[in-house]
Symmetry: C2
Amino acid sequence: MTGTPPWTCGTLPKPISSSTPNHSLPHGRLGPLYRVRRSTANLDSVLRPRPGGCLSPTDPQRRSARPDTGSATPVRADIIAAATRVFSERGYHAASMSEIAAAVGMRKPSLYHHVRRKEDLLFAIHEQMIDELIAEMMRIVGSSATPAEKVAATLRSAMGFVARHRDGVTVFLAEHRSVGGERWNELVIKRDFYEQMLHRVLTEGREGGAFVDVPPAIAAKALLAMANWGYTWFQPGGPLTAEEVAETFARIALRGLEVR
Amino acid sequence: MTGTPPWTCGTLPKPISSSTPNHSLPHGRLGPLYRVRRSTANLDSVLRPRPGGCLSPTDPQRRSARPDTGSATPVRADIIAAATRVFSERGYHAASMSEIAAAVGMRKPSLYHHVRRKEDLLFAIHEQMIDELIAEMMRIVGSSATPAEKVAATLRSAMGFVARHRDGVTVFLAEHRSVGGERWNELVIKRDFYEQMLHRVLTEGREGGAFVDVPPAIAAKALLAMANWGYTWFQPGGPLTAEEVAETFARIALRGLEVR
């Protein structure tokens, strides 16, 4: 992780052609990934060329508008790490600021010098997770690999992420009900940006004749689900590495998708 | 749902042959589905023939041992339904017994005549969900369909379940940290029983030459993940029905698995 959001520089993926059938998914009452309506969250509205040819999943006004944060100063990495462990083990609601302070080796009043409230820590964890996922996906999408290679790389990246950030991914995928307001809209846009990069890979594979004609939006959900669900069962240090699991996922997915 | 657990009568599936490679998944620090160690939770130890040729995923001693329940009387269906809505909307920790009482149209003291504590409601919801899933899966596994047809039927069943029990599935898949003790062990065994029925279908397909040689345990995780993840995004009444989504999942999964 660097201080610079990973998407501020990158290669602009080709837009999905307007002839692509609209397989967009239902909105409305949305689950963890989509607490707010996704009306603005499609790749084409989100990928805005900026001066210097860089990308942003959010516009500059939105990025600077953080009314809930209370501070422009990033939360210290060791505090985020401690909060991640505590939230993952105890659950966000059950965890207390006292426990987080103890985990980071400070007293509770000192913790409040760094963080205004527990929700700010949850937000920081979510942001850290999605920023890293986007950075990896940008590299995959921007490479010269074939769509099939990009699908396999996405599954390796996502399973590796689950294995590497066990606690962080648990918080990211399981603790979602408590983030609200403008900041959450920003996270939703980033999560959609991540998913739509895979959607675009699948669309390109289909339009180029490499993949069979299945709705890319549903296929993207199916592929990401395989890796995401790993947070419920994958055991780092267990008999199977994340690479081995991802290889099986990719084998099923690519046999399932590729035209032969 | 009937009062009789669905697995007490059924067809005993063929045992997985002892020559089957052991693709069992790692134990240890386990996610939501596996809060406790799964040492006893494999299909062969769990499927016990009982007098009359019936099955049980738990032995009779375990089923009658509910030290945490406080009562052998089942919780009233309307109370479970109200708790399901409230837990799904507010989150288990944030929800109060007062809110549940209001949702069911009674005062809080009256609710305590029916339920000793909030956790009992969470347990009842989890049990109701897994019992229905097991009942459906037993029908699929016990049918004369081919392994490929059983895989497609499993995906239809699981996506249909997600669509039908929107709130219940949210509680079942997202609210898991707060159930503890002996009762939770029982739920873990039932969840494993469900998953291992699909594992067995995949093993039979592989041994019979219908499916390619991918580890059935990982393939089972991949397939169930597709449907389970639906709880985060699927919108009943949206542009796609659960059947249509399941059809795409099955197309990818079966193209991925079937020998051609």
